[in-house]
Symmetry: C2
Subunit: 283 residues, 2 copies
């Protein structure tokens, strides 16, 4: 099985330098915007088929699931991926969780508490819009926790994800890699469009002054949690169409790798047909 | 505002006779199957726009939400509605809950306990695939609770739904009305297709012998819970395309009735543009 997008976007091990990865790139794809926008919906039938097989498997006792983690700076397009890519599969098979600033209840628990509660059950594709990585990203940049607690969290995340994978969840972590300039254009576009004002927060502009600190926090997090069992993919996100298409392919390649099978009947098919044929009139 | 599907499918008050409603009908729609299949996706843009407005409203403090309840016999197409109709809107804005036989934990609580936990938050469209109505349907037919408890539940449901509506949730209850003969054909189709065997349960054939008891249980439930604040719609479901289209229209008409508005900016738009224009170089 070829997994061109997975191979192309998989973060290599070792030190991470995000400035060396082009946010405007389109690895593994030759076409232009029109080609990309045309290609995305063509993934729909295969995605839907594989998702339904995964879902069906659980009726035969399979506990397999997929967890797609979406991380990225504001405007990098997590919502767009949910709408355009995740929206291609049956919503019954998807469990989306958007992680906001922790509530009071969440803050008194360990940072992974709320994440455990959001994990996909057997047969489901879970999607995290932000995730436990915020607890080593904004938490680091904004000093929301003591340094030693932040340090502890990288290992805690790796242990947590190793357990997840051992428990039959396939973890696909995507960093939506947007440039500071493209973010600026997207913020300006939101300001220019009254139907997008609700998405704009003046605090987003303040955060831009911390861009280098966020990049460093991402680089540290990516390097320290880029494990064999739960690898990171860095998805160039300056082109929305490429970002949506690439994540569609990553999801497709992941599902193909799982190769879920329709469960065999655990009853006698002919006998059931006969029962229906022989039944007394129903009305 | 015209609400042709709402008007046509709304259950009239008074005694309910399901045998008088044609499961093969297509109220409020003149076209044939090809027309209906073509018409469904054309609802997508309006549905998506209205759903996003509803979602956006919560950022301005709105607590409004929608709850779509799907009830119907096996094979009536609850899953198909989720896939084809609910699938037209952004999955971030939808919270789907499939109610199965209650777990041990759920059984020790009041029947509405698990339902409360599944309600949509502000800005969301909640969808129930089966619901609290199972507790007066199969519970009645199979005597899963004492008669006086079942009797109590109709009023409890009405009180619960009245509270829901008072709390800004618009409740749309759809009974997918399929005929016994069409159900038989759909069960046979599942038996003929190995990719659908996992959906078949020999118990489904046993339940068919209780068809008249289920119909009576539905008629009683529909009559007693068809309130002004949370009305029932009976959706002919022998034609899958009509069922999907009709529920799409009911959802659209409901959202149009809510007329959600884009929130106004709670900041000075020009000032924010200026801040972005004036910022120090970011990288």
């Amino acid at each position: 099985m070829t997994i061109p997008f997975g191979d192309a976007l998989r973060l290599r091990s070792g030190p991470v330098d995000l400035t060396a990865i082009d946010p405007n790139g389109k690895p593994a794809f030759d076409g232009d915007k029109a080609d990309g926008e045309e290609a995305l919906p063509t993934l729909g039938p295969d995605l839907a088929d594989l998702q339904e097989r995964l879902f069906a498997e659980r009726s035969a006792g399979s506990e397999r699931s997929v967890l797609l983690v979406l991380q990225g700076m504001d405007t990098s397009g997590k919502g767009g991926v949910l709408r355009h890519t995740v929206g291609l599969v049956d919503p019954q098979g998807v469990k989306i969780t958007s992680f906001k600033a922790p509530t009071e209840e969440e803050r008194v628990h360990d940072f992974l508490w709320r994440v455990h509660r959001a994990l996909p059950g057997p047969g489901l594709i879970g999607v995290f819009d932000r995730s436990h990585y915020e607890d080593v990203l904004i938490a680091r940049v904004r000093s929301l926790a003591p340094t030693e607690e932040i340090e502890r969290r990288y290992d805690a995340i790796n242990d947590f994800e190793r357990e997840l994978v051992a428990g039959s969840t396939t973890v696909v972590k995507c960093m939506l890699h947007v440039s500071a300039e493209e973010q600026k254009q997207r913020l300006l576009a939101r300001l220019d469009d009254p139907t997008k004002h609700w998405k704009f927060n003046p605090g987003d502009v303040d955060e831009r002054a911390l861009w280098p600190a966020y990049r460093e926090a991402y680089e540290i997090a990516l390097e320290r949690t880029n494990t064999d069992v739960a690898p990171w993919y860095v998805v160039p996100a300056d082109r929305k169409w490429y970002r949506n298409l690439a994540i569609g392919h990553l999801l497709l390649e992941t599902l193909r790798g799982l190769d879920p099978q329709w469960p065999a009947a655990d009853f006698d098919v002919e006998e059931q047909k006969q029962r229906l044929a022989d039944e007394a009139p129903v009305a």
